[in-house]
Symmetry: C2
Subunit: 406 residues, 2 copies
């Protein structure tokens, strides 16, 4: 999470937080009574008999926040938000009642550059998490809408998208049959299927499509200009996500080595974030990083940087009567920003080393009586299983060298 | 918060998190029905008619967590935990219904070094937050207990501490009268008052006190050995906090320039964290950082590093027809870890600069037609109000220089 946040900040997104507990009417403003969210929300009466609830996503609180503060915030407003949300559903793998969402949004602009940044930041975040093999699939719902409008069935867009969504399950013939049921002629169904099952670079897919495709072409070009790698962005007009909510560019991100976990980062452009709370029109573009899925994938694939995850690099071992030098060595390393743990108790050295192994410390430092007499510290590299000594004056450099720091 | 976390990690504390929502019986295990917390807790029945509640502190969840996982965790276990907690009380300045707590604990050891680390880490965290003028007041309740035991009123420790707590309000005479009411002779009351109103270094206060004072002396000496500054640690035996909970060293931390906000970091040693959930004896030492109070103090005192708080350093200004160089410059700076925002819309330059001023960007970069022709970028320093140009090849160094990065 820290690595992702560092990337967000590099892109000029600021952190925000909002309360987890809000008035139920604020959170449920747009939700139909009896809808899934209405059944899942944790809602109760507080000590003052107020009707309150725990947030079920970060979008509604963002809308409330922006509507309330839009005058002070200034436009465009770029924010990221990592927060806990709650849904009272049946827990299963990758789905919990309490989980973390990670959203970013740029609000108050219709510029394709804001869309492009979502693609670029997605790529940079995944690379920061040591994920190199991913594909960002992008689309713009207006392209399919224009194609449907040409053959007079624009209003069938939702059912067409639902049919296209089943492509991998029921095959091209099955989808074509569903399209005909939706009112398309066989020839039109064929054409729509061809349009939506072509995948490739922006140039390949968008080339002959006319002006409604220019916007998406511009977004992809700007993303590449911002450093996104062109071969990781695939135009795929069958993407069906967010039927009601998104109105322009939409995207999903899949891991090439584990597509089955689903999209690990998705988002798109919307026309109006907060119509419920303000009359000010707030167009924007957002993305949501699927932390739980990424963690599941990390576990499955074995993250290449697993080894870097031990919180603390160094354990200083205690010897009876040698507390002072242990304290000095510990303070010295910490003052040079080396994460260092001092074993608090005077246990046997073998016990302390076993603790270091178990905890994943990379180095154990021994400063016993012999070391003090010689003015050195013994450095045990627990991974490489080698032992060296260093003069106190050279200890920081030796430890940083052994840890590959700087 | 990020700065505090970096210090915690340097000391070998690992981050943990626990659910915000738990079974009410877990959270309320030790709480008497009708007690303040029992009235304040947010408690309700969920979709499955389970009796659940939102945590009101991070100590109870920690106890549950450690009891449940002590076999896998290994001992000692050092953790920090930053999390939201909820209490349904009447909001007032510095007291909200939903707020953030920040706790750290070392569990499973009785070593005075673990106590000393709490004092050292407190100092380092405050310094990392640019707070230099603070005093850590330490005590050990066993010293006062021994003094009371000598005159046969050990069981009066709670009322004695409560009386001492009023020293600043009712004065020495008032406290002496209350002590006599608690059963002390005038002479004994006098002696206790003298003991508890002496403040000074460990050597000054603990010098003549006998073996029950050695423990605290050892803690302070180890803290100094770990790099804590001796003049910031004051022994003050009147500290009354945590009557029921703490059993050894206790401490509170005050800002010299704003003592009125109260203690900004407090904690102490306890005998047994989780007796309710496990038969394993888990002694430890903990500290709690008062984030809200520190933020209030920062606001009041004006943090010296306020200027460093703008999330993003650089705004790249857009010129019509010059999108490509704006994208390139933005990508270049980000790839060198400079937080850079690209203005998304083609507005007037003056509007974009006003936005940068308002948002607190330190530099605005202009790459218009003239700049492109000359192969340079114009750097406007919005704080110093100076303007320079840099060759593209030297841009990263020039920007980092202007921002004082590395």
């Amino acid at each position: 999470m820290d690595r992702a946040k560092a990337v967000f900040r590099r892109y000029g997104f600021s952190p925000i937080d909002t309360p987890a507990l809000e008035y139920a009417e604020i959170l449920l403003g747009k939700v139909d009574p009896g809808a899934e969210i209405d059944r899942q929300i944790y809602r109760f009466r507080d000590q003052g008999d107020r009707d309150v609830a725990l947030r079920f996503d970060l979008t509604v609180p963002l809308a409330r926040f922006v509507a309330q503060h839009s005058q002070q915030l200034g436009i465009p407003f770029k924010r990221y938000h990592v927060g806990t949300v709650w849904r009272g559903e049946n827990p299963q793998v990758g789905r919990r009642r309490e989980f973390t969402q990670c959203d970013l949004d740029t609000i108050g602009t219709t510029s394709p550059i804001a869309d492009a940044e979502m693609l670029a930041v997605t790529g940079d975040v995944l690379r920061a998490l040591d994920v190199e093999r991913f594909v960002i699939r992008v689309s713009d719902r207006r392209i399919l809408s224009a194609a449907l409008a040409k053959v007079g069935v624009e209003h069938e867009a939702p059912s067409v998208l639902r049919a296209l969504d089943k492509l991998s399950k029921i095959g091209a013939d099955g989808v074509a049959r569903e399209l005909v049921t939706s009112g398309l002629s066989s020839a039109d169904a064929e054409a729509v299927l061809r349009l939506c099952s072509t995948r490739g670079s922006a140039a390949e897919v968008l080339g002959g499509l006319g002006p409604e495709a220019d916007g998406l072409g511009e977004v992809v070009a700007a993303a590449v200009g911002l450093g996104a790698s062109e071969e990781r962005i695939v135009v795929d007009l069958s993407i069906a996500r967010g039927l009601d909510y998104y109105t322009g560019m939409v995207f999903e991100t899949f891991l090439e080595d584990l597509p089955s976990v689903g999209s690990v980062c998705s988002g798109g452009r919307y026309d109006d974030l907060a119509s419920l709370y303000t009359s000010q029109l707030l167009p924007g573009v957002g993305a949501s990083l699927g932390l739980t899925r990424l963690l599941d994938a990390w576990e499955e694939l074995g993250s290449p940087s697993d080894e870097a995850h031990s919180a603390t690099d160094v354990l200083v071992v205690r010897f009876p009567g040698e507390t002072e030098s242990a304290l000095r060595v510990t303070a010295l390393l910490r003052s040079h920003a080396v994460a260092t743990e001092l074993y608090p108790d005077e246990r046997r050295v073998s016990d302390q080393l076993r603790y270091a192994q178990r905890r994943g410390h990379r180095l154990a430092l021994l400063c016993g009586e012999d070391e003090r007499a010689a003015g050195v510290v013994t450095i045990k590299d627990l991974r490489e299983r080698v032992e060296t000594t260093a003069l106190l004056a050279e200890l920081v450099a030796a430890v940083k060298g052994a840890l590959d720091l700087e």
